[in-house]
């Protein structure tokens, strides 16, 4: 068995297009999901009993059902209830919803890690909760959020491969197409494994720099 590099070189355009689609889906779903996640975390912590329970159920449902099943529910089951989405739209919705559940837990953990005295001091100074959140809590939360969000981003990129099962033309789907045409799984699947590996390595390198840039006081001198 030999490794035929020509297959990769002949099909690099479809692989590049797939990679661009993968990056695009993640780049849109991540911020949307994260904002939704912040809202759900706040709802869970301050939304009262009913809304809090709803937010809790939302988080537990998304975290305890495999992403593949979530995608199938959205793509095969939702149409029976009148929600018919194209594969690409289903991809955006599924990825954003998945992100929001995990982001909500990250946010909740981060907010809980700040001593209650900070919020109480804010109230004592006559600040409203939105101001306390924006000026007191969120700035402190950053150091806690960045590393965990990096992990979330990386797992989002990895989960996006599952979208190939509903024919979203991302990297894995492009690879399966090429394999279907050329019947050379060794070269193509090895190639996309390396591409994903490079992409996630790039993400962790970039966020590492971001961490140093945003919080130089938390990085020990030795590391710089």
């Amino acid at each position: 068995m030999q490794f035929d590099l020509a297959i990769i070189l002949d099909n690099w355009q479809s692989l590049a297009a797939g990679l661009a689609r993968t990056i695009g889906i993640c780049a849109i779903s991540l911020p949307v999901g994260f904002l939704l996640g912040v809202a759900i975390a706040l709802l869970r912590m301050h939304g009262g009993r009913l809304l809090g329970a709803f937010a809790g159920a939302y988080v537990e449902l998304f975290r305890n059902i495999p992403f593949l099943i979530q995608v199938f529910l959205l793509f095969f089951v939702a149409p029976a209830y009148g929600l018919r989405l194209s594969p690409l739209m289903a991809a955006f919705v599924a990825m954003s919803a998945y992100t929001s559940a995990y982001a909500a837990e990250i946010m909740r953990g981060a907010l809980l890690s700040i001593p209650a005295g900070q919020t109480e001091a804010g109230y004592a100074l006559g600040l409203g909760y939105p101001t306390i959140l924006r000026r007191v809590l969120l700035p402190q939360v950053l150091g806690y959020i960045l590393p965990t969000s990096t992990n979330l981003t990386i797992s989002l990129v990895k989960e996006s491969a599952i979208l190939s099962t509903i024919t979203v033309p991302e990297l894995t789907y492009a690879a399966q197409n090429i394999v279907g045409r050329t019947y050379s799984p060794v070269e193509v699947f090895t190639a996309i494994a390396l591409i994903y590996w490079g992409l996630t390595a790039l993400i962790s390198a970039l966020t590492k720099r971001l961490e140093i840039r945003l919080q130089p006081h938390l990085i020990s001198r030795r590391d710089n």
Partner: protein
Amino acid sequence: MLDVSNVYDTFPRFLSGAGVTLGVSLAGFALGTVIALGLLLLARSRLAPARWIAAVYTSFIRGTPLLVQILVVYYALPGLMGIDLSPLVAGVLSLAFNSAAFIAEILRAGLTRIPTGQFEAAKALALPRHVVAFNVILPQLMRNVVPPMVSEFTMLVKASAILSVITVVELTRTAQHVMTETFRPVDAFVTAAAIYFIILYAFSMVARRLEHNDKRAAR
């Protein structure tokens, strides 16, 4: 929309699918633990190349989608090695390869949490090596390691849904079969989702409880 009688008729198949899901996860987890022990030995080796191998392996597993790992094991590995793997074997192997990287990390973290004084005290008492390993270190390691291991197993059960892509007839594949036979996607996937939720939620409650006890004991 949900046809309860249809769900009732097909439910035994879903149960056996769930059994396969748990079975492949357990097999993958057990084999993964064995591979993880090997990885741990490599990572603590005095030879630099051995440490590199462990580091590259871990980085590769954490940096690539499980679906791609499964495709590599099922389609690419036979081509490279000249052996044919059945979907079930390929599935268990890829779950094992995947979980090994994470289990190795759990074991490593668990070991570093044991104070060096424990090793030194055991040595000062001239305890034989097997007594040190099994009666001194292992009980403490278990307490550090069991809660994250339960979480890792939960992750593996969740991840095993992807094995449906290479036609392992576990819970997700069962749902797909039932859907194509009955033309009722709602029943099939809602049932599968509910079973997954019950299994995964139960395991994550156990993991949470163990972590909680662990924190109390540490005080």
